[in-house]
């Protein structure tokens, strides 16, 4: 496929439009990572407090596999628009999720326990 004059849209592999190999590679990697996630959640081989970190790493890796092999997003020059939009989306997602968790954890921490609050109101 010829390089488009204005970059190319997500989801289209510029080098191999008629082959299924990127989808097969993506499917294989995603399957391995999925099975690894389910294994990690129920194994006793991994130090228990480290399991959430391992699960997060596996999930982020699998999201990366999907973006690279199913969406065909890369940091190539003709994909600058797609890549910058993705970076902004990831940034806002991180702000919302981690910001909410942090704020709510602080609020919980500073809040009087509910039963003492009830006692004061009597």
């Amino acid at each position: 496929m010829q390089v488009e004059a204005q970059g190319h849209p997500p989801g289209v592999d510029p080098h191999e439009q008629h082959g299924a190999s990127t989808y097969l590679i993506g499917l294989g990697c995603a399957l391995v990572l999925t099975v690894a996630s389910f294994w990690a959640s129920s194994t006793s081989l991994v130090y228990a407090p480290g399991v959430p970190v391992l699960l997060a790493a596996l999930a982020i890796a699998q999201m990366g596999v999907h973006v690279a092999f199913f969406f065909h997003i890369s940091s190539a020059p003709d994909q600058a628009n797609n890549f910058l939009a993705l970076a902004f989306g990831v940034f806002v997602t991180g702000l919302i999720v981690f910001g909410s968790i942090m704020i709510m954890a602080h609020l919980n921490h500073n809040m009087m326990p509910m039963d003492e609050l009830m006692k004061m109101q009597r």
């Binding site: 010829q2 488009e4 004059a5 204005q6 989801g11 989808y23 993506g26 999925t34 797609n82 909410s100």
Partner: protein, 206 residues
């Protein structure tokens, strides 16, 4: 390579102002990509709500007691396989191979229906066990997050039927291919959201 040759063969050496308008396919693809990213931000808000409320079980059962992992693994495999078959269907569409396109998109549709029926059965059994969305903040957040994803999958299936009917009636018209290609992007995005759901909601349940 001279500047003229570069202008003919690639975008690298040509200033942005001289490149002319982008083709419709690029504009539509990029616009739909922006829509998908904003849809993922909607899910980010629901994930944040779930993460904050997941311990507020109001004395009811927690996630670890309610969720069944084998069922979730089956749902995950359905959705993952349907993402790949959807990719094969999109490739068949690009080479205007109608039979292969119907075949792969049909499998995509069936796998989506499998996913929804497993999820529907899970919701029904939870509601029957008294763990409906009105029981606790944790269950409200759970049903909102997972239900919104399920609603997206249902909408995607309706969209897929409409697109297959459009291919049948209009053929591989540029407008129809563009829409079917956007459907493929939508379907891959739902799979990415599901990775977050099964990791945070089901595998991270305490």
């Amino acid at each position: 390579m001279s500047t003229g040759e570069q202008a003919l063969h690639g975008s690298a050496g040509v200033p942005l102002a001289l490149r002319g308008p982008a083709p419709l396919k690029v504009v539509a693809g990029f616009g739909f990509w922006l829509f998908l990213l904003s849809d993922i931000i909607v899910f980010a808000a629901l994930f944040a709500a779930y993460a904050v409320l997941s311990d507020s079980t109001a004395g009811g059962l927690s996630g670890a007691a309610l969720f069944e992992k084998p069922r979730v693994l089956l749902e995950t495999l359905c959705l993952l396989a349907s993402s790949a078959t959807c990719g094969f269907g999109t490739l068949a569409m690009f080479r205007t191979d109608a039979r292969a396109m119907y075949f792969w998109m049909g499998i995509t549709f069936l796998l989506g229906v499998c996913f929804l029926s497993i999820e529907g059965r899970e919701f029904a059994s939870m509601v029957a066990a008294g763990a409906g969305p009105s029981h606790s903040a944790f269950l409200s957040a759970f049903f909102t997050l997972v239900g919104t994803h399920g609603l997206h999958v249902s909408m995607g299936l309706i969209w897929l039927i409409v697109m297959l009917l459009q291919v049948t009636t209009l053929g591989f018209d540029p407008m129809v291919t563009r829409r079917l290609y956007c459907f493929g992007l939508f379907w891959h995005a739902l799979d990415i959201v599901w990775i977050g759901v099964f990791t945070i909601v089901y595998l991270g349940a305490r």
